[in-house]
């Protein structure tokens, strides 16, 4: 096939790619979006009742990446041999149109403003020596005030439900008093509260914390977004995470953006198109387009473009940069290069409280983004001085709908057996009368935690797999333990009959066999210094100025909040500056 030319190529059909494709077509560009997975439409994958089949959905991973074609390798330390992540467990990347944005839960946060300049803030408050040796603490290079219009825009596109605290400086509701000021209300009122969440609200309040309704991209009422597409009201069916919402209530690229985008003649979506690499000119300063494998015909296709947007899942972005030779790969020994540097995760642990046999928590009732949280121990909302760690965790009851297979395999919790005699008794008690509370915490970046290409293992197309070198670190373990300790009084105030606190243990090694979270971040981080960041504050590659890299890969640290709201805001922020500045005068928007 001869090379074709378009104005812009967008790699990946998730949230970041769909937002960029929409914005660039609005700007008049011809856009081809390449997605390596299948076409996905709620009329098919969201068709009730097959859409809510737990075995096919969350257990056999219907909407997730099929690792048989490509995966990552993982090791904990630099001197270890990495082994393939052969079975999905610890994290669950998406695949197909909508990406992880189709199977996400819908918790839709903004950002804690202090997190955007975490290094500056920590140094200002506690001094430079407060930062542990080997921790790469960095700023994003962008402020909350700059991003606010784009958080607002994303919430309106997503149909986000929530309760504000302040709007334009005036108290406007009983929302999160640690949340930054807003320019407008949430487009929809907060979601209803399940019994577990309402118990958490009153207990947390009784012990002096400040509970608030989680902002949810689950529609609390019927909604039409600025693109003219409609959402139905959430019925708390509990099939958000891992599923395509059959009610059209959970925001997804498929429901909230693509119906408008697909009608634009300047837009083309090509599925089953696995991008092998971004093609660069001879001196590696300009991208000329991409080479992709048409998975239907197994033919390699060259597609040329003036602008290339890398907007796949976090680690796929980094993988593609490494495979393409964009920027310098990070070397932890020499401490040089930036691609793969500051790979981060989150510290998420779950505690459980059992109520009396008369109190039914009906765990199957839920919505992925709904719940009640406290931010008293998130970000820099508390004094870290005497504690000696950086970071924090929001804490919440986020009853997202617990399905029976996952519950049964996970077991009753506490010290109860996971099979055989006594298992069923305990399982019944747990499923009917317990609730869970999460500490959903940050994870800092470290010199010896990074991404690079694996020396041994290849994907189905003969390319080296991405290698993760990752382990838990003392700073983050102690942060998690501290915050989980703050959950205990809440549980006691609930009148629990018993409880079990889930926390990271001293020296705990990252275990790939147990689901923790899909909130991976970093590896292609944004910043103000090309020595420590891959992309500038507009998410433009420092090295190849017609490449923008959009996603959680831009986060210099793993924040306590769920990442999607920040990813969407950064996508709209980057798109705005491409439209208003870059397209008028293509080239570096920040001089290195």
């Amino acid at each position: 096939m001869c090379a074709k030319k378009v104005d812009a190529i967008v790699i990946g059909a998730g949230w970041a790619g769909s937002i960029l494709a929409k914005e660039l077509t609005e700007a008049g560009l011809s856009v081809v979006m390449l997605e390596r997975g299948d076409e996905r439409a709620t009329a098919v994958e969201g068709d009730y009742p097959s859409s809510i089949d737990e075995l096919r959905g969350a257990i056999r991973h219907r909407l997730f990446q099929n690792l048989s074609q490509s995966t990552v390798t993982i090791r904990n330390t630099l001197d270890q041999e990495a082994l393939p992540y052969r079975r999905l467990a610890a994290f669950l990347p998406g695949e197909g149109v909508g990406g992880a944005g189709l199977h996400w839960s819908g918790v839709h946060f903004r950002v804690a403003p202090d997190d955007l300049a975490l290094r500056t803030n920590v140094v200002a408050r506690y001094g430079k020596n407060f930062i542990p040796e080997g921790m790469n603490l960095q700023d994003y290079g962008v402020t909350y005030e700059e991003l606010e219009p784009f958080f607002d825009k994303a919430e309106k596109v997503f149909g986000t439900s929530g309760e504000p605290y302040t709007i334009n400086g005036k108290i406007a509701g009983n929302g999160n008093r640690f949340a930054p000021d807003r320019s407008d209300a949430f487009p929809l009122p907060a979601m209803g509260e399940v019994y577990s969440a309402s118990l958490f609200r009153s207990a947390a309040s009784n012990v002096g914390y400040h509970p608030y309704a989680l902002p949810a991209a689950n529609a609390s009422a019927q909604y039409t977004n600025p693109y003219g597409v409609q959402m139905g009201p959430c019925n708390f069916c509990g099939y958000c995470s891992g599923y395509d919402c059959y009610m059209y209530s959970k925001a997804s690229p498929n429901v909230n953006i693509l119906p408008a985008l697909r009608q634009d003649p300047k837009f083309t979506l090509i599925t089953k198109a696995h991008v092998l690499k971004v093609n660069l000119d001879a001196d590696k300063k300009k991208a000329t387009g991409v080479s992709y494998l048409d998975l239907r015909t197994r033919q390699q296709v060259e597609l040329d473009a003036d602008l290339v947007i890398i907007s796949a899942f976090q680690f796929h972005n980094v993988h593609l940069m490494l495979l393409s030779g964009i920027g310098q790969p990070y070397d932890p020994k020499q401490n040089t290069g930036t691609v793969g540097r500051n790979f981060v995760y989150q510290t998420i642990t779950t505690s459980r409280a059992w109520l009396s046999p008369k109190q039914y928590t009906n765990l199957f009732v839920g919505a992925g983004g709904a719940g009640v949280a406290i931010d008293d121990f998130n970000s820099m909302n508390f004094d870290h001085g005497p504690l000696g760690f950086v970071g924090g965790s929001p804490v919440w009851v986020n009853q997202a709908g617990v399905k029976p297979i996952a519950a049964a395999i996970g077991g009753p919790g506490g010290k109860a057996p996971t099979w055989g005699e006594g298992y069923k008794d305990a399982m019944v008690d747990t499923y009917r009368h317990s609730l869970t509370i999460d500490a959903h915490g940050s994870n800092m970046a470290y010199r010896d935690v990074y991404l690079d290409l694996d020396p041994t293992y290849n994907n189905a197309y003969g390319q080296p797999l991405l290698r993760m070198t990752f382990n838990w670190k003392d700073n983050d373990i102690r942060m998690n333990q501290y915050v989980v300790g703050k959950i205990e009084p809440i549980i006691k105030a609930m009148g629990a009959t018993k409880y079990s606190l889930g926390m990271l243990k001293d020296g705990e090694v990252f275990d790939t066999r147990r689901y923790q979270t899909t909130h991976l971040g970093g590896g292609a981080v944004m910043g103000t210094d090309p020595k420590t960041s891959c992309i500038n504050r507009y998410l433009q590659s420092w090295d190849v100025s017609n490449v923008f890299v959009i996603g959680a890969s831009a986060f210099p640290q793993g924040m306590g909040y769920n990442p999607t709201g920040m990813v969407a805001a950064l996508a709209y922020w980057a798109a705005y500056h491409i439209r208003t500045t870059y397209l008028k005068n293509p080239g570096p928007m920040v001089q290195a």
């Binding site: 009742p49 097959s50 809510i52 089949d53 075995l55 257990i59 056999r60 991973h61 099929n66 690792l67 048989s68 995966t71 993982i74 090791r75 904990n76 270890q80 082994l83 393939p84 992540y85 052969r86 079975r87 999905l88 467990a89 209803g192 509260e193 399940v194 019994y195 309402s198 009201p233 019925n235 708390f236 069916c237 509990g238 109520l355 109190q359 039914y360 009906n362 199957f364 009732v365 399905k403 029976p404 297979i405 519950a407 049964a408 395999i409 099979w419 055989g420 005699e421 298992y423 069923k424 008794d425 399982m427 019944v428 499923y431 009917r432 293992y457 090694v509 275990d511 790939t512 066999r513």
Partner: protein
């Protein structure tokens, strides 16, 4: 292939004779279901006779009969597992199965070249060999229930190998697949009579709780329904 129906009938008879089973009110549906010969007549498509007996016995021990209701074998978990063996999952098509295959630290996850169907075949044969050595030539399915439990505990907690398969990895495969069978939609062969869902109070495919978001601690009042509309 011979169906070990006598074994299955024995399980059934034992249960029907148990006072606790009859006293548990919600399981009349079970008495009806078990009287249907059709429900017992599943012919394994993948497992051979010895494997099928092993799986049946193991499912009954992992998810035992008690006052809450029947065991995992009667709930169809063996049929579920047998049918899963001929799916993309059973063939390992959902897993990265390229070499080299190297043993590593357990926290780095599964590293065997065996898809589930091969894992079962190899491990069950080795498990029965282990049992023969320790129990005067008997296989696992012939042991009394307390002995079967002891063997499963040894697999779960021990460091022994069953062929190329660490016994604990085999046990966890068996445990997970048994529970998948008990708690998945009956479409897949298990959760007979929706008894798994009834046990937990999970309402199945209802998936609409608009009017039940917060009942202030009261139980949800409706029983389960399957994707095909079966109720219990």
């Amino acid at each position: 292939m011979k169906i070990p129906s006598s074994t299955r009938r024995n399980f059934t008879a034992g249960l029907l004779g148990s006072t606790s089973f009859w006293m548990y009110g919600g399981h009349k549906v079970w008495a009806d279901a078990l009287q249907s010969e059709g429900a017992l007549a599943y012919k394994p498509q993948y497992f051979n006779h010895e494997e099928w007996q092993f799986i049946n016995a193991a499912c009954a021990r992992i998810f035992p009969a008690d006052a809450h209701g029947p065991d995992g074998a009667l709930l169809g978990a063996p049929e579920f597992i047998d049918r899963q063996m001929d799916t993309p999952y059973g063939h390992g098509q959902l897993w990265y199965m390229s070499g080299p295959f190297r043993a590593g630290a357990p926290n780095l996850g599964y590293q065997l070249p065996l898809p589930p169907r091969d894992l079962y075949r190899q491990a069950i044969a080795a498990a029965n060999m282990y049992v023969r050595d320790h129990h005067q030539g008997q296989v696992f399915a012939q042991l009394a229930a307390p002995e079967q439990i002891a063997v499963l505990k040894a697999f779960e907690q021990g460091k022994m190998m069953l062929g190329d398969v660490p016994a604990h990895a085999f046990f966890e495969q068996l445990r997970q697949n048994t529970l998948e069978g008990v708690f998945s939609d009956p479409l897949y062969g298990g959760n007979k009579g929706l008894a798994g869902w009834t046990l937990l109070g999970f309402p199945g495919a209802r998936a609409d709780f608009m009017d039940w978001v917060n009942q202030k601690g009261a139980p949800y009042p409706f029983g389960p329904v399957s994707m095909s509309g079966e109720t219990a």
